[in-house]
């Protein structure tokens, strides 16, 4: 069981401070949701933990099982168990999905152990089947020509096979139709175990209908301003973030917009 501790983290990109003192602890077996309006630093947080070179850590620390990982390269963090399902997965022409995932899984194995290819093929095919991705997936080029939904499902496929200890799922619900959302939700839920701590980043409640979080955090202007349970989700879905103004005594929330209420969505039962 792993534990990720983010302590008083300040992060800037090109002189602009985005994260202003984030504190978050995620243990194996826990599922956290981070919600909040656009542009408040949710995705930045995920990228920084993964080690994206674009961001500068001004102060604070990121500890994985007590070890500070802020100086480690992206691949080292991955091999230590951090995973990021990306909002916009990158296309790599000419590289087959299968080769890529195989290399990734091999990279996570101890140096003296070799991937058993026969077993891996079976694992890959069964994961592809679980995600209803069709039989040609192995030989397609990595994310090339994938629909938005396929890309997202492909992220979950990688997560299933790599088996991380701490996983960020960055807006894994965007661009998914209802069926795809259900498939992703079910697969992610099936992965829940004491060996996996998850952080779901989302605007909307609907993902959280499929993957039930234990903790819900609201992030505004680079800070986690409120932490609670599932009840927060409903409140946000109905009331947006405006009520936080009063509660926090914030006067200027110009970046904050009320998200589209899913109650109006035809595919969903109206909210009470």
């Amino acid at each position: 069981m792993s534990i990720l501790e983010i302590r008083d983290l300040y992060v800037a990109v090109e002189d602009k401070t985005i994260l202003k003192g984030v504190n978050l602890t995620v243990k194996g077996g826990e599922t956290h949701a981070i919600m909040g309006p656009n542009g408040t630093g949710k995705s930045t947080l995920a990228s920084v933990v993964m080690g994206h070179p674009k961001y500068t850590i001004l102060s604070g620390s990121i500890l994985l099982d007590g070890e500070d990982i802020t100086t480690l390269a992206v691949d080292e963090r991955s091999r230590k168990g951090i995973f990021l399902a990306m909002q916009a997965p990158i296309e790599v022409p000419g590289v087959t999905n299968f080769d890529f995932v195989k290399t990734a899984v091999q990279a996570h194995m101890p140096n003296d152990k070799k991937l058993r290819i026969g077993k891996f093929i079976l694992d890959f095919e069964s994961a592809a089947q679980d995600l209803q991705m069709g039989t040609g997936l192995a030989h397609r080029y990595l994310n090339e020509g994938f629909s938005g939904g396929e890309k997202k499902r492909n992220e979950i496929l990688q997560m299933k096979l790599i088996k991380p200890a701490i996983a960020f799922l960055d807006e894994i619900d965007s661009g998914l139709d209802v069926d795809a959302l259900r498939i992703v939700g079910e697969n992610v839920t099936a992965m829940k175990s004491n060996d996996l701590g998850m952080i779901l980043i989302t605007h909307y409640q609907r993902l959280l209908d499929y993957i039930e979080p234990d903790f819900v955090h609201i992030m505004i202007k680079g800070e986690i301003v409120k932490t609670g349970g599932k009840e927060l989700i409903t409140k946000i879905d109905v009331e947006g973030y405006d009520w936080l103004k009063a509660e926090l005594g914030v006067t200027e929330l110009e970046e904050i917009r009320k998200p589209v209420s899913l109650g109006t969505c035809a595919t969903k039962v109206p909210l009470k």
Binding site: M50, G51, H52, P53, K54, A73, V74, D75, R77, S78, R79, F83, L84, M86, P89, I90, V92, P93, G94, V95, D99, F100, V101, T103, A104, A107, H108, Y141, L142, Q158, I162
Partner: protein, 471 residues
């Protein structure tokens, strides 16, 4: 290509400047250093050639003296033609000692998993590769179909009429300085004749050739695919070819007759001390189709532009090539498509990779002549630069001399992108693995055109060359 992998061979071999020990010279038959009419007469006499071939050689020598170095492209003025031995009788060619082959080259063989006998052949330790034993059944099969597959010297002796009919007809000795030089002093190479209607199913590999000679400096290859016939020829191999000769100037002539098909695949991987200047050209008759699959991994300076002259109506030409330039390498490669017949079509796909300060240029010509009505050409040049020091230029020339032609040209130059690297590394791949994977993906459209075992070797090779590219 790092110094660690391909060191300056001159430094390593020292005394073996021309590939053999100086204390052993007495056993070798070779011409004197430098070139003259007498030396050409001598070469022709040793080979016991007909007068007409000697005449062509001498005329070519005049062309060689007359024609200056190309005024475009890399500077070749440093080549000292007096400092080269133009002919070494191959059976007398003294074999390198295995101990003297640089360990880097041995390592590469090991990593590629090349059998020891073949390793020794490639390294010039043995001059004869006993292909007969290995490929006996294939050879019998070919003979039964009337296919002629010989080294070029033997073909001249055994099929003089056929030879005379085609030799020098698509690459004239007056074409360029190095085609002239090759014509004057050529030795070795492959000769293939495929009779009308004969379709050779399996790829024909140069190893099948009986008593195949060691790859030479001035090889001459002549391929004739008669009407309705087809052949898929694979020249050489992807393994590094270690040669101590500094200048290589080969000529490949291919005739694709009506409704015939020829694919010529090669992956050039000379050691880094080599200047490789090759003229490759094919003449394609009506409804014929010529495909060049051309890989350039090795040599220090390489100039190679496989060409198709699409003479007949509906003739088709395709060139798919890659060029890889590492440290101290300059690849100046490309393709030429000359449309003469109506409704002719051509396609060029060029993939270039530069790393560790290498330079890679695409240089090509597509020309649609006045009579080439409704001709269509498509050119796609993609370059990937692995680091900041590496360089690339794309130098296309597209000419349409009628009002009904069509040329599509696309060129991209990209860097290995940070977004791609971040994505792959976030899945545990090291910077090196991630870069390698992106580059391998980039050349995939080329690799998939090669026979499987070649593609595997090529991939291995590029991986080896990429080692130490980053970080």
């Amino acid at each position: 290509m790092s110094n660690e992998k391909k060191p300056d061979v001159d430094q390593i071999i020292g005394d073996y400047k021309y590939g053999f020990k100086t204390d052993n010279v007495t056993n070798i038959y070779s011409t004197k250093m430098g070139l003259s009419r007498d030396i050409i007469r001598e070469i022709s006499a040793i080979k016991n050639e007909p007068q007409w071939m000697l005449d062509i050689r001498l005329a070519a020598y005049e062309s060689f003296l007359r024609i200056p170095n190309p005024k475009w492209g890399p500077d070749l003025s440093f080549i000292n033609f007096d400092d080269i031995i133009y002919y070494i009788k191959s059976s007398d060619r003294v074999e390198n000692s295995w101990e003297d082959v640089p360990s880097e080259i041995k390592d590469t063989f090991q990593k590629l998993g090349i059998p020891e006998a073949e390793q020794k052949y490639l390294a010039g330790v043995t001059t004869q590769f006993d292909s007969e034993a290995v490929y006996h059944s294939t050879i019998i099969e070919l003979e039964e179909q009337g296919v002629v597959f010989l080294d070029t010297d033997s073909a001249l002796k055994r099929y003089p009429e056929l030879f005379k009919q085609y030799f020098g007809k698509v690459v004239s000795h007056a074409d360029n300085k190095y085609a002239a030089l090759n014509t004057a002093v050529w030795s070795g190479g492959s000769f293939i004749y495929v009779p009308p209607g004969v379709k050779i199913e399996k790829p024909l590999q140069s190893y099948f050739r009986i008593n195949s000679e060691k790859m030479g400096q001035f090889e001459r290859t002549l391929i004739i695919v008669d009407q309705g016939a087809s052949v898929n020829y694979v020249e050489g191999c992807t393994a590094p070819i270690y040669s101590a000769d500094s200048l290589h100037a080969a000529v490949v002539e291919i005739f694709v007759l009506d409704h015939a098909y020829c694919r010529y695949s090669t992956v050039q991987n000379w050691s880094n001390n080599i200047i490789n200047l090759v003229t490759k050209r094919s003449l394609v008759e009506s409804y014929g189709h010529m495909e060049w699959i051309d890989g350039n991994i090795g040599s220090g300076l390489n100039m190679k532009y496989p060409s198709c002259i699409l003479k007949g109506d509906y003739a088709k030409g395709t060139t798919i090539s890659i060029a890889f330039a590492g440290k101290n390498q300059h690849q100046d490669t490309g393709a030429k498509m000359i449309h003469i017949g109506a409704h002719t079509t051509s396609k060029i796909i060029s993939k270039s990779i530069a790393t560790k300060g290498g330079q890679v240029n695409y240089r090509g010509i597509v020309k649609q002549e006045g009579r080439a009505l409704n001709a269509k050409s498509k050119i796609e040049c993609d370059t990937i630069l692995v680091d900041q020091e590496s360089q690339s230029d794309t130098l296309p020339t597209n000419i349409v001399k009628n009002f009904k032609g069509q040329i599509e040209h696309e060129a991209t130059v990209s860097k290995v992108s940070d977004a791609q690297l971040f994505y792959l590394m976030s899945r545990g791949l090291s910077l090196e693995q991630a870069t390698e994977m992106i580059v391998m993906g980039f050349i995939e459209p080329f690799a998939r055109e090669l026979p499987m075992e070649y593609a595997v070797e090529l991939n291995q090779l590029i991986k080896l060359e990429m080692t130490g590219s980053v970080g």
